[in-house]
Symmetry: C2
Subunit: 405 residues, 2 copies
Amino acid sequence: MALRIQKYGGTSVADIDCINNVADRVLKGHEQGDQMVVVLSAMAGVTDKLLTLAGQASKRPDKRELDVLLATGEQTTAALLSMILKDRGYHAQSFLGFQAGIRTDKKSGKARILNIDCQQIKQALNNGSIAVIAGFQGADNEGSITTLGRGGSDTSAVAIASALKADVCEIFTDVDGVYTTDPRICSAAKKIKKISYEEMLEMAILGAKVLQIRSVEFAKKYNVPVHVRSSFSEEEGTMVVNESSDMESVVVSGITCDLNESRITLKKVPDQPGTSAKIFSPLAEAEIMVDMIIQNTRSGGETDVTFTVTKDDFIKAKEISEQVAKEIGAKEVLTAEGIAKVSVIGLGMKSHSGVAATMFKTLASENINIRLISTSEIRISCVILAKYAELAVRSLHTAFGLDQK
Amino acid sequence: MALRIQKYGGTSVADIDCINNVADRVLKGHEQGDQMVVVLSAMAGVTDKLLTLAGQASKRPDKRELDVLLATGEQTTAALLSMILKDRGYHAQSFLGFQAGIRTDKKSGKARILNIDCQQIKQALNNGSIAVIAGFQGADNEGSITTLGRGGSDTSAVAIASALKADVCEIFTDVDGVYTTDPRICSAAKKIKKISYEEMLEMAILGAKVLQIRSVEFAKKYNVPVHVRSSFSEEEGTMVVNESSDMESVVVSGITCDLNESRITLKKVPDQPGTSAKIFSPLAEAEIMVDMIIQNTRSGGETDVTFTVTKDDFIKAKEISEQVAKEIGAKEVLTAEGIAKVSVIGLGMKSHSGVAATMFKTLASENINIRLISTSEIRISCVILAKYAELAVRSLHTAFGLDQK
C-alpha cells in the first residue's frame, strides 16, 4: 500500500469529461489499495477569465480580494471531482486550502507555505476516503485566503506530499514528461527518464513550464520524489529525484530557450564606485527582477552596463534606466527586444570541462553571434538574436549528443 | 451614526456595472458616517449555471460538495465589490461565511444558522472598514462549508443584523417593496408601507418571493427591522416590523396567488383509526412537504382524503399515494395539476369577523368554484382552478378595498 499524491493541471480538468477521466485514474490507484490524495488546478482558462473580471472591477485589483476571487477556480474543480467520486460509490471529501491546513504567509498572490497541518487529511485517508484538495490556495494566520502564484498547485501537491511523507508526488499534465528540449522546436528532443532537482530547477527557471519553480525548490528541500507524467496516457514520465551516481555520466541533460527577456544597455557610464548600486537599486525598489548583468570595461574611465529583464517589466525598466542614466551621467540607453536566452544544463558540468567551449564553437559554426554570457555551476546561458533561437537549440541538441536515436 | 446591513440580490450584482452601482449606494451611507455591512448574493444566473455543472457531474450531486461548489458564487461577488470599494480609495474587506463567523448545523443545502461570532466583522467596522459578506453560506463546527438554501442571503443579512444589533436590515431587490398583490396580475396593486412579520411570513410562504421565509422567521424572532426596497431607485420601500396598533385598522393587507401546487385525492378510503398516518408517513419519509389536508366524510364507513403538494414533489407524491392506496384499500387516486391557491392575509382578521364570508361571496359572484379551503389566524386560502386565478385576485383586491386610489 502506497500513499500517493496526484496533481492534475487545468487541461486535465478542463470539463466534466476530463474530470471523469481524472476520477478513473484516481480510482485505479484506490482499487489497488493505495491511499490517494488528489490536488487540482482550476479548469483551463478559468483563472484567466477571473483575472479579466477583476480587471473590469479595478485596474489594480486589491491583492487580498483577488486571491478570494481566484480561489473559486480550484474550489469548483475540487467540489466536482468529489461529487463524481461519491456518485460512483466511493468515499471522497473536498478540502479547500484552509481546510487542508495549508498555512501561508500574508503575501497575497505569491504566498509561501509556512507549514501544513495534515490532521484532517490523514483522518479522511484513515477512514478510507479519497482526499480531494483545491490546489493553489492556503490561508494566512488570520484566516484570510491566499494563493501561491501561477502554477501554485504544483507547490501545493509537493508540499502536501512532503507533509504526509508520501511515497510519490505525481504531477499529471498535458505533456508526458520533461524533454531534453522543447519538442516543438526540435523534433529530435527526447523524454528524460530521470532528472535531478538541481537540473529541473534550472530548466524551470529558464522557461520549461512543466513545473512551477517553487515546487521544485520545495521537492529538493524536502526530498520529495516527483513524477511528471501525462494525464492522457499510461506511459511513465520523468522522475525528478535526488542527484544519483548514474546521472553524472550525462554531461548535458537539457537545452532551454527563453524568448521572454529583453536587454537594456547603459552606454558610457562613468566608472565610479557605487554606480552599479545607483542603477540597480531603483529597479529592485520597483520589484523588477533583473536576470543577467554584464559590465564591459571601456577606455577613458567609462563602462557599459547591460542587463536583461522579462518582457513584462521591460517598459518600466526602460523608463527607470533612462531616469537613472541622466542622474549618473551615462550617455545613452540602448534596448533590444528581439533576443533569446539559450542555455545548456547538466549536472555533469560539475566534473566535465569543455562544455562552454563546445557551446561557443557550435554557435560560431552556425554564424550565431553571442551577445551576453552567464553561467552557474550546472548551466551556461548565451543571449543571441531571437531569429537564431531555433537553429541554436537544434545545433546544440545535436552537438551534446541528445538527439533521439 | 447608524449601523446598517444592506443585502443585494442577484439582479443587483448581475455584472460589474451593477456592482459599481452597489458601491455607489454603499458609499453614500459610509459618507454619511454610517457603519456599513454589505451582504451579497451570487450574480444573477450563476447559481443555476453551477447547478447545471453539478448535474453534469452527478445526477444526485453529493450535498456537502454541492455546497462547496455553490458557495463560489457569493465568494466571487464579495471579492469583486471589495475590490471596487478599495479601488475607490475606501477601506473594505470581504468575508466568506466561515470568516464572518456564521456557524450553522450540518444540513448541507438547507443549513440553519446556530450562532454568529461577529468579532471579525466588528473589528473591521471599528477600523473604519466596510464589511462585505458572502451571503447564503456558513460553516458547520467541523469547518465544512454549508449553504442556507435558495434566497439564503436574506437570512444571512437578517441574522448578521440581529447579531450586530443593527439599526436596520435593508434588503435591496429588483422590486421596490411588498405589494398588496402581484402587480403583474392586478394593476391596481399598491405598495405596502408597513407590514407585520406575521403577515410577511404568510405572504412569503404563499409565494410572494420578495423575502426568503426563514429570513422573516429570523427577523420576527429577533425583532430585526427589515426594509425591503429597490436597488434601482431611491424610493422608500416596505418596512417589515413588529405588529403595531395602527396596522390593525386594515382588515386585509394582501392577497397572494400560488400556482405551484398540485392536488392529490385518495377516494373511498376505509374510515379506520390510523389511516391518515398510513397515508402521510411515507410522504414525510420521502421529505415531501404536504400543504393543505382535507378529509370529507362519506357514507358507508368510507372517506375521501385530499391534500396538496408542490409541483416539484407531485410525481413522487403521486407514486407514493398510489402504492399506499393499494395497501389501505382506497378505491382510486385522483390528481389535479391546474390549480391555484388564492389567499387573503391580514392581522385585522384577528378582530374582524366576516372576512371569510366576503371572500366566498366574492368568488361566488364571479362563478368561481372553491375546491379546498384552509385557514389560519390571519389567513384564508381557497384552492380554485388555475384559469380563474387572476380574476379571483383582482376581484378580491377590489372587494377588500385594496385598489390604489
